[in-house]
Symmetry: C4
Subunit: 191 residues, 4 copies
Amino acid sequence: MQRGRTEAFSDGVLAIIITIMVLELKVPHGSTFKDLLPTLPAFLSYVLSFIYLGIYWNNHHHMMHTVKYVRGAILWANLHLLFWLSLVPFVTAWMGENHFETQPMAIYGFILLMSGVAYNMLQRTIIKSQGEDSLLAKAVGKDIKGKLSPLLYAIGIASCWISTYIAGALYIAVALMWLIPDKRIEHEVKE
Amino acid sequence: MQRGRTEAFSDGVLAIIITIMVLELKVPHGSTFKDLLPTLPAFLSYVLSFIYLGIYWNNHHHMMHTVKYVRGAILWANLHLLFWLSLVPFVTAWMGENHFETQPMAIYGFILLMSGVAYNMLQRTIIKSQGEDSLLAKAVGKDIKGKLSPLLYAIGIASCWISTYIAGALYIAVALMWLIPDKRIEHEVKE
Amino acid sequence: MQRGRTEAFSDGVLAIIITIMVLELKVPHGSTFKDLLPTLPAFLSYVLSFIYLGIYWNNHHHMMHTVKYVRGAILWANLHLLFWLSLVPFVTAWMGENHFETQPMAIYGFILLMSGVAYNMLQRTIIKSQGEDSLLAKAVGKDIKGKLSPLLYAIGIASCWISTYIAGALYIAVALMWLIPDKRIEHEVKE
Amino acid sequence: MQRGRTEAFSDGVLAIIITIMVLELKVPHGSTFKDLLPTLPAFLSYVLSFIYLGIYWNNHHHMMHTVKYVRGAILWANLHLLFWLSLVPFVTAWMGENHFETQPMAIYGFILLMSGVAYNMLQRTIIKSQGEDSLLAKAVGKDIKGKLSPLLYAIGIASCWISTYIAGALYIAVALMWLIPDKRIEHEVKE
C-alpha cells in the first residue's frame, strides 16, 4: 500500500483539528472590545495549540516523505498519533476556559506528552520497517529534540503545582525549539 | 471514472467524522480533575468509535485499492456506507451521555451492524464489477470476519437487555478481531 | 490551471457539508427510544439532504472530469454552487426542527432550486469554455433532467402553501429522478 | 519537499473554514420567514466572508502553482496566513450577531488586514526563494492590488468610528477589486 491515502487522511484530520479549535472560541454577546477580553485566555491557548499542530503537520509531512509502503504497523502508529492530537481541541478549550489553572494546564501538558510519545513511536515503527539503510534514521540522527521534548513536557506537568508560569514557559520553549530550523536546513535555505 | 476522487471524498468524510466526535466531549466548567470525571463515559465511547472508524478507514483503503473504475453502483454503495458511519458521532454521544444504558447501547450496536452490512454490500458490489478474476474476492477469501461481525453485533444488541457489559464486551471483541492483523499480513511485516 | 485542486477543494467542502449536518441532530437527554422520537423529523431531513449532496457530489465528479483547464469563470461558477450547497445544513436543520412546516419547507426547496440553478450555470460555463467540440455538451445531451428539476422545485415551493406533503413528494421525486441511473449507464454496468 | 501536501493541507483548512461559518448561522426556533429575519445580519456577513475566502483560495491556488519546492520558510508563512484566515469565522459571527456595530466591524477589518499582510508575506517569501528569474514576481508585477488592499482595510477600520457604512463599503470594494478579473485574464477567457 502506498503512502498517498495515509497522507491525505492525516492531512484531513490535522486540518480539521486545527480548524475546529476556533469553534471553541465562543462569540461574546456584547459588541465592545471589552467583551472580547474574556476570550483572551481561550485565544492564547488557541495560538499555542495552532503552533503545535502546525509543527506536527510539518514534521509529519517530512517523516512520511521517507516512507514508500505503509504497512499495518505504520498505519496504526499513525492513527495512534492522530488520536492524541484529536484531543488537543478539548484540552485547549478546557485550559482556556479556566484561565490556565493548575490542573487544566497539567492535562494540556499530558496530551502534549502523549502526542510526543506517539510521534516517537511512529518514527521508530517507520525506521524499523525501512531496515538498516533507513533514510529516516539518517535524517533524524541522534534525535535530541525528540528525546528532550517528552522530558520537558514531564517537567512542565510537574511544575504546574509549583507555578503555572513555569509550565507555560516550558510548553512554549518546546514549541520554539521545534520552530527554530536546524542549522542544516537553514544552510539549504541560504543557498 | 477513476477511483481517485471517490477515495479523496471518502477520506474527507471519514476524517471529519472521526474528528467532530471530539466536539461532543463537552468541556467541563470546573477546573479540577474531578470535573473531568463526568466526561469519562463520553471519552470511553469516543475511544471505541475512534478505533472503529480507524478500522473502517484502514479496510476501506485496502478494498478501494483493488478497484480500477468506480461505476455508479460502487459509488452509491460507498455513499451508503458513509451514511451509516456518519451517524456514529450521534450514537457515540448519546451512549456516552447516558453512561452506557441499555437502549443507547443497543442503538450504538445497531449503527455498527448497519455499517458492517453496508461494508459487506460495498464489497459484494466491487467483486461483482470486477468479474470472475476478482482481486478482491481472492484477498477476502471466505471472509469469516466479515460474516462473523454482523452476527456478533446482533447478539450484542440483544444482550443489551440482559447486561450492557456483555454488549460492550462484544462490541470491543469485534474491534479487536479486526485490529489483530491476519497471519498472512504479519508474515509480510516480518520479512 | 489544472482541475486537481478545484476538485480537491470541492470534495473537501462537500465532505464537510454532508458531515456537519449530523451536528444538527441534537443528542437527546433521555436514554430511551422514546427520547429519540423528537429527533425523527431532523433525521428524515438529514437523510434527504444526504442523498441530495451525494447526487451533487456524484454529478460534480462526472462533470469536472470533462474539464482540462479551470479558468476564472469556471472557478467562480463552482464557488457559487458550493455557496448554495453550504446553506443546505442550515435549511435542513430548520425544516427538521419545525417538523416540515410550510415556510421552512419552502425555504428548503428554494435552496434546492438555487443549487440546481447554480449547477446549470456551472455546466453552461464549462460547455462555453470547451468550445464547439464540447465533451460535456455531448454527454449532457438535451439535459431534460437538468431543465425539469428547477421546474419541479418551483412547483414544490409553491405547493408548500397547499400541502407540504406534495412539496415533500416533489423534492423526493427529483432526488429519485437523479438516483435512477440513465439507461446508457445501466447498459455499461451490465456489460 | 514538493508542494502537493502543502496544497492539500491548505485546501483542507480553507474548505473547513468556509464551511464551519455556516454553523454560526443559528437555526431560529420559530417556523416563519419573520423568524429568519434576525439571522439576516449573520447571513450577510457570511456571504461577505465566503467571497473573501473564495478569493483567498483562488489566489492561493494560483500562487502555489509557481512553487516547485516548499521550504521551511514558505511552509510557515503559509501556516501564518491560515492562522489569520482561521479567525474569520469568529469575527464573522461576532459582526453578524452585533448587527455590524462599530467595534465588531473594526475587528473584522483587522482580521482582513492581517490576512492581507500575511498573504503578502507569503508572496514575498516565495519570490525570494525562487531567485531572480521568479515566475511569481513576473506574474504579480507591480502588485497594485496587493499594496492597495491593506491601505483600504486600514482606512475601513478607522472609518468604523465615523460610519460603519463607509467601512462596509470599503470591505466590499476590496472584495470586488479582487473579483473582477484582470484584463490579461479576461483576454485569455475570450480567446
